[in-house]
């Protein structure tokens, strides 16, 4: 024991609150440091749109967009399944909600305001401007992010509804309930009426009519294709940034503690209920955004297949393979899982069989996933790997 430390503590274990208020540095550098990553992400997004798109060409740019959407999905699911250790299997449900809601916003807004559901043009979407916008931006540059946010928010609201049962359920029971929720969402969307085709029809149907005219089981077609590399890189970046900032904060540590040991977490003062529900809400929000991006890439808000559990399983595979709780792991897995079938013919044919086997083997050989909760930039991950490598060479146990 360290005697000096004990004396120091005795004299100065002031309330943490006073410690916090005591140290208050200047506001300006803080603001800069807080905003810098966002600036970098925006810059990257612009570069992706301006430079990368041309370099990649149509096919690969398209693939990159899919990868980006999958990163948003995998990282957001990591917040629930990885951070808090609750097992959600209905993530595709939120994807669907975001897709349909944001689709409804862009489609019907364009239809009623500009007389056509077609894209109103947007520089950030890489489209020529057809209507007047704000300053040098096109109308679509404003409409699209607003629609995405609305989709995300509605999805987050549903996340709240799904998160609430998690107060009383654990593990596999919760998994089944989220799967059921996802299905309910899908079934309910399928009950919606056909999309309204003309401004007059939309006008007549009113807001409620438009909100229920989502194309039903056929999917919601004719959406303006706003999604570009810019938007995808932007949101993938923001999702990772937010996830990272949560993980390295009081709230994030609370989430991880719930996953490690719920009873101990409560005994340490963590409100496990609120923590879990927050995780569900945030994850649902970003999944909703991903849904919006995906819908405005295809021009169709997700047919039933995209909202179904097959899609949820896809996302789970990424999260599990990457490491339950690792943001960079999930993002990496999203890249690999999306790209591998595109590059390897053999993988394309047996795609799901290979991933299923990978899932099973991973659970037996490396139960925490590739990276566990750690990130690729964590020094201790590499040290750990190195040490293990050395001991293996030296004969090991």
């Amino acid at each position: 024991m360290n005697g000096r430390a004990w004396k120091n503590m005795a004299s100065s274990d002031a309330n943490l609150l006073s410690l916090i208020t005591a140290s208050r540095p200047g506001a300006a550098p803080t603001l800069l440091r807080s905003a810098l990553p966002v600036v970098v992400i925006v810059a990257l997004a612009v570069m992706a749109q301006v430079v990368l798109k041309g370099l990649l060409g149509g096919y690969y740019a398209d693939l990159a967009i899919t990868i980006g959407v999958n990163i948003v999905l995998a990282v957001s699911l990591t917040i629930v399944n990885g951070f808090t250790g609750q097992f959600s299997m209905g993530h595709a449900g939120f994807l669907a909600v975001g897709g349909y809601v944001s689709g409804a916003v862009t489609y019907y807004f364009s239809l009623t305001q500009w007389g056509s559901a077609a894209a109103a043009g947007g520089r950030l979407s890489g489209m020529p401007l057809s209507t007047e916008g704000l300053a040098w931006l096109g109308a679509g540059d404003v409409l699209f992010p607003v629609a995405l946010l609305i989709g995300g928010l509605v999805s987050a609201l549903l996340g709240l509804a799904v998160g609430l049962p998690s107060l009383r359920l654990r593990g596999d029971y919760l998994a089944i309930v989220t799967l059921g929720f996802g299905e309910i969402i899908r079934v309910v969307i399928q009950q919606s009426g056909p999309a309204l085709k003309t401004p007059e029809a939309a006008e007549q149907a009113g807001v409620l009519g438009m909100a229920t005219g989502l194309g039903g089981a056929l999917g919601f077609g004719g959406l303006p294709k706003y999604t570009s590399l810019f938007w995808v890189v932007l949101f993938a970046g923001l999702t990772m940034l937010v996830a990272y900032r949560i993980k390295t904060s009081t709230s994030g540590r609370a989430m991880l503690s719930v996953r490690e040991d719920e009873i101990a977490a409560e005994a340490m003062g963590v409100n496990t209920t609120r923590t879990k529900v927050w995780a569900f809400v945030i994850a649902a929000f970003f999944a909703g955004i991903a849904g919006g991006l995906y819908a405005h890439k295809l021009g169709v808000a997700l047919g039933p297949v995209d909202a179904g559990f097959q899609r949820s399983f896809d996302i789970i595979i990424m999260v599990v393979l990457g490491g339950l709780g690792s943001i960079s792991g999930a993002a990496l897995a999203a890249v690999v899982v999306t790209m591998l079938p595109e590059y390897l013919r053999a993988v394309a044919d047996y795609r799901m069989i290979i991933f299923a086997l990978a899932l099973i083997l991973m659970m037996i050989l490396r139960p925490k996933g590739l990276l566990g909760v750690r990130e690729v930039w964590d020094a201790d991950l590499w040290r750990g790997l190195f040490r293990r490598g050395k001991s293996a060479k030296g004969g090991g146990k």
Binding site: M1, N2, A5, W6, N8, M9, A10, D13, N15, L16, L17, L19, I20, T21, A22, S23, R24, P25, A27, T30, R33, S34, V242, R245, I246, T248, S249, T250, S251, G252, R253, A254, L256, S257, R259, E260, D261, I263, A264, A265, E266, A267, M268, G269, V270, N271, T272, W278, G325, K368, G372, V373, D380
Partner: protein, 255 residues
């Protein structure tokens, strides 16, 4: 007035009366023990005090505030911290993060501040790192701050659990078999540690322990449970000689 007061606390599981009419008065800076044979209901008492189970009857008060129906996290907030019989650390988290989680209640800046990295959040993180770092130093764990908790040797895990409980900023500390599985040297250090913790932080401590050497040496007063009931209460010398206690431990003397 006593700091922690339990009165008539009872709990049944199914038909089994696990704890019946448990009563305890723990004064400020008191160092008390709770002992009893296997299955006497000691850990259940801890679970009742900390809200893991809800008592069927009885009240628990801490510094005059009623704890009886609160959820465990609120009870921790009121100043009752604990360790667990079968160590429950957050194994995948680093040693220092284990302590940071325990500072949860004293962190006013939540998710929005963290996502926007506001000044408050930064200051909070700095304060957390400083305070937790100091705690680790006190417990001799500073060099292991960034290791995963599950990789610590057993004795360090026990100490980290105590440090974590301290980090919540408690008024009362409940220790569930802190010496279990320790060797004599570690036990000796543990005794010193528990005393220092009490003195430094001005806490009241209640501990469950099987090692009578530790209990008799440390505790000012001892409560003995048998079959869920308090059968004796008093200073160590008195409890040791109590025929009811001897019978509970050693069995009825040969007839």
């Amino acid at each position: 007035m006593s700091l922690l007061i339990a009165q008539g606390v009872s709990k049944s599981f199914g038909g089994l009366k696990a704890v019946q009419g448990f009563a305890l008065e723990l004064p400020e800076r008191g160092l008390y023990g709770l002992i009893g044979p296997n299955g006497a209901g000691k850990t259940t008492v801890f679970n009742l005090l900390t809200g893991v189970y809800r008592p069927d009857e009885g009240t628990v008060k801490l510094a005059g505030r009623e704890l009886t129906r609160l959820r465990p996290n609120r009870i921790a907030g009121e100043g009752l911290a604990r360790t667990f019989q079968n160590i429950r650390l957050f194994g995948e988290l680093s040693v220092i993060d284990n302590l940071k989680v325990a500072c949860h209640l004293r962190c006013p800046h939540g998710m929005p501040a963290a996502v926007l990295r506001l000044a408050g959040h930064r200051a909070q993180e700095r304060a957390l790192a400083e305070r937790c770092g100091r705690l680790l130093e006190m417990f001799g764990l500073a060099s292991r701050a960034h290791e995963q908790a599950r990789n610590l040797p057993y004795g360090d895990q026990r100490r980290l659990e105590i440090a974590r409980a301290i980090a919540t900023g408690p008024k009362v500390l409940l220790l569930d078999e802190p010496a279990a599985g320790m060797n004599p040297q570690e036990k000796k250090e543990l005794r010193t540690l528990i005393r220092s913790v009490r003195d430094t932080f001005g806490l009241a401590v209640l501990l469950i322990e099987h090692d009578m050497g530790v209990v008799m040496d440390l505790c000012e007063r001892i409560t003995v449970l048998d079959y869920g009931k308090v059968i004796a209460h008093g200073p160590p010398e008195q409890v040791q000689k109590d025929p009811k206690v001897i019978e509970a431990y050693l069995g009825a003397p040969a007839a």
